[in-house]
């Protein structure tokens, strides 16, 4: 687009000849220079106000002992918060471990099941439009509403545990009450909510694959699996890279469902890094330390995204 504009911009003969450009040409060139900056100014202002200032504020607070409950104790402490976080806070490492398992479990399960669902919905069958609409429903509802649904399901007196006890299984089993089961109960609830994202994105990409590629594969005698492996998957590569990256970032930052479903409990079994930040910054009003934890999360996501995109690009080059 830029080259088109440049090509169409008339060049004053004097300027082209290397002499002093006439006034009108200079004015036009000045306007040309002012134009792009003028156009990107709103974007720069918005990015500054909504990204640079908040990020800068968090970085600033992370260098302070800053607890809202004790305003008199506020003071600059340099990198002490980061030192505490890395060397004296086992809960930071524990929450980071839980976050890693959470992200891997969610992204892998959502990708595999979402892909399977997309393949299913890509086939022609009666009522396909209705099934597609229904499948999208969990994605459309809020995390808090999803929590309410799953709280009822997990409630020992109304939900699945009650059904199991009526069938003769252990009575009073509460999936959210024990450390191990609470984590996987939360994984299932989030899986239910996140699955449609992958299914819809992959289905959309799947529908853009030219039919004649499959026809050619058919003629060559490729089985359904080989068609999936050598036609469908390569075409979906870009969509898979982007969706898994986006989802990994979202799941890393997940707060709404976990906060309302388990509150990070029991006994910290579902306390991911963002929930730990909430507990520190909002619960304990320890904004200084909460800011340091936030910076850690930010850096981890930044590094992860860069590495992920680098490998994604490398594998794309190899396939070419």
């Amino acid at each position: 687009m830029t080259s088109t504009i440049l090509a169409k911009t008339p060049v004053a003969p004097a300027a082209a000849a290397g002499g002093s450009p006439p006034r009108q040409a200079r004015k036009r060139r000045g306007r040309w220079f002012r134009g792009p900056y003028g156009l990107i100014t709103p974007a720069i202002v918005l990015i500054t106000v909504f990204i640079a200032v908040p990020v800068g504020t968090v970085v600033y607070f992370s260098l302070f002992q800053y607890n809202l409950s004790k305003p008199w104790a506020t003071k600059f402490i340099g990198l002490d918060n980061f030192h505490t976080m890395l060397f004296d806070d086992p809960q930071f490492w524990s929450s980071l471990g839980i976050t890693s398992v959470w992200v891997v479990a969610e992204v892998v399960l959502q990708l595999v099941l979402g892909l399977a669902l997309a393949l299913l919905l890509n086939r022609v069958f009666r009522g396909r439009a209705l099934v597609r609409a229904l499948m999208f429903a969990p994605w459309a509802i809020s995390g808090v509403l999803a929590t309410q649904i799953w709280l009822l399901i997990y409630n020992p007196t109304t939900g699945i545990a009650d059904v199991l006890s009526q069938l003769g299984a252990q009575s009073g089993f509460a999936p959210l009450a024990a450390g191990g089961s609470a984590f996987w109960a939360a994984v299932i609830a989030e899986l239910w909510r996140g699955l449609p994202f992958f299914a819809i994105m992959l289905l959309a990409d799947m529908q853009s694959i030219p039919k004649d590629v499959y026809e050619a594969a058919d003629v060559d005698g490729a089985s359904a699996f080989k068609q999936f492996r050598y036609v469908t998957l390569p075409y979906l590569r870009e969509a898979i890279i982007i969706t898994t990256l986006l989802r990994a970032v979202w799941e890393f930052n997940n707060v709404d469902l976990l906060y309302t479903l388990t509150g990070g409990g029991p006994a910290g079994a579902t306390t991911t890094l963002p929930l730990y930040i909430v507990n520190e910054a909002v619960g304990a009003r320890n904004f200084g330390y909460g800011s340091a934890l936030t910076i850690a999360g930010f850096v981890i996501l930044l590094v992860f995204s860069m590495i992920y995109l680098y490998f994604g690009r490398a594998s794309r080059k190899e396939s070419k």
Binding site: A73, P156, A177, A178, G265, A284, R285
Partner: protein
């Protein structure tokens, strides 16, 4: 050039109009607020919004608005488990209400952030002066870091054990007069196969607040701090009492109790699935609604089994506070006083079944005939009983209680011991107390 002049002219006109508008705004905001000439709307946050309190406050607000037609009160109900966080978030974001109901354990932290208006001078020149019960005022003063008055105590309510009198009679077990009685009843009234439990335990949000009365009534330790200003929470007797209490989890309670917050715990009791629950008088109305009068009965926190001595934790005050960020402090104070007036305080406490903060309301006939309130007033007034005051004045107190909640869940799940929990809790309190002493130089 001509165009530039026109633009400059327009800019001047626009700026002048803006200034004119501002001037007009500032002149219109002068004069007394809440009068026919200058009506105002104030925001009121209820810390325990829900089907019980919301209609009550709406009725009270309609009475206030009828008496003060130029003051409109916008009611905002907040779930009890989120109230402290909402207030703190509002303080951080500069969006506090004009008036909000604040519980004693929230007050010091909010006051230390200069979020609340000191009410001492305002009360001394108010018609309410001399009509607030002395013990409630003392409790309210004791809940702030500088011992100023930040909340007008609508009530000051102690923890009690609520029990189902009908189930106790049917099972032939004694009321929970001592901790031995309590554990016997919890065991006897549990039938886990039928989903019936002796006790509903608060293991989720707010759990550690309720451990203070458990620790001191069971151990019969008579003071929160020893002579060296170290907390007695680290006393082995406290750890032993807390361990015994934790050991009934998932035995005489349901497995789900580990995540029970206030509403879950009360629902478990009021749905008939638990025979006892530990809570203050604030849930009385729910029990009456669930079972009718006289079925759920209140008993003071049990006496220590070994000595038979009864040790109670001083009641926690609760009432309206005027937030310092209020743009309408006079109407806000007017509404605050209204909540503490004789008739309204009586209505509020009779509906919620709590001890009135207004001394005139305490003399009303309904108070004498109310079993939970009479029992609580008698227990607090009995000279044989010991009253322990928890350090509500520590700005960190609420953070410590919140911070310890997950470790208490670990005790319930047998991932750690009550000894370790009590020791960690004591460390945090001692650190906070030392900081407080350094900063303010005394209680």
């Amino acid at each position: 050039m001509k165009r530039n002049r026109v633009l400059k002219g327009l800019a001047l006109v626009a700026a002048t109009s803006l200034l004119g508008g501002l001037a007009a705004c500032s002149s219109s905001s002068g004069g007394d607020e809440g009068t026919a000439e200058n009506p105002v709307t104030i925001t009121f946050w209820d810390n325990n919004g829900g089907p019980d309190r919301t209609p009550l406050y709406q009725d009270i607000i309609s009475k206030f608005e009828a008496q003060n037609p130029a003051i409109k009160v916008d009611y905002v109900g907040i779930p009890a488990s989120d109230a402290a966080t909402k207030y703190q978030t509002a303080v951080a974001g500069g969006s506090t209400p004009d008036v909000g109901i604040v519980v004693g354990w929230m007050a010091s932290s909010l006051a230390a952030q200069s979020a609340l208006t000191p009410l001492d001078d305002m009360l001394s020149s108010s018609d309410l002066n001399g009509h607030i019960a002395e013990d409630a005022l003392t409790a309210a003063h004791g809940s702030s870091f500088d011992h100023k008055l930040y909340i007008l105590p609508m009530t000051a309510t102690p923890d009690t054990i609520w029990y189902r009198q009908d189930q106790f009679k049917a099972a032939g077990v004694s009321p929970p007069d001592t901790w031995a009685d309590f554990y016997t009843a919890a065991k006897t009234l549990t039938n886990s196969g039928a989903g019936q439990y002796g006790f509903a335990m608060r293991g989720g949000a707010g759990s550690v607040n309720q451990l203070v009365p458990v620790a001191y009534s069971c151990s019969a330790i008579s003071s929160f701090f020893d002579a060296d200003d170290k907390t007695t929470l680290s006393d082995p007797k406290v750890a032993s009492c807390l361990q015994q209490f934790a050991d009934i989890y998932n035995v005489d309670t349901s497995q789900a109790d580990v995540s029970y917050a206030y509403q879950d715990m009360i629902t478990a009791f009021d749905s008939g699935k638990a025979a006892m629950v530990q809570h203050n008088l604030g849930s009385a109305a729910n029990h009456v609604k669930a079972f009718g009068e006289g079925v759920a009965v209140a008993a003071p926190m049990p006496a220590a089994t070994s000595s038979g001595a009864r040790t109670l934790v001083a009641p926690t005050p609760e009432g309206p506070a005027v937030f310092s960020g209020s743009k309408h402090p006079d109407p806000a104070w007017k509404f605050t006083q209204f909540l503490l007036s004789h008739d309204i305080n009586s209505q509020w406490n009779q509906t919620t079944n709590q001890i009135p903060g207004n001394s005139d309301s305490r003399a009303d006939a309904w108070v004498a005939g109310n079993q939970p309130i009479s029992v609580s007033i008698d227990a607090l007034g009995d000279k044989a009983n010991t009253i322990v005051t928890s350090p509500l004045y520590l700005p960190d107190w609420n953070s410590i209680l919140t911070d310890m909640a997950q470790e208490w869940q670990a005790v319930l799940l047998k991932q750690t011991t009550a000894q370790q929990f009590a020791s960690d809790w004591a460390d945090k309190v001692n650190t906070a107390e030392a900081e407080y002493q350094t900063q303010f130089g005394g209680k």
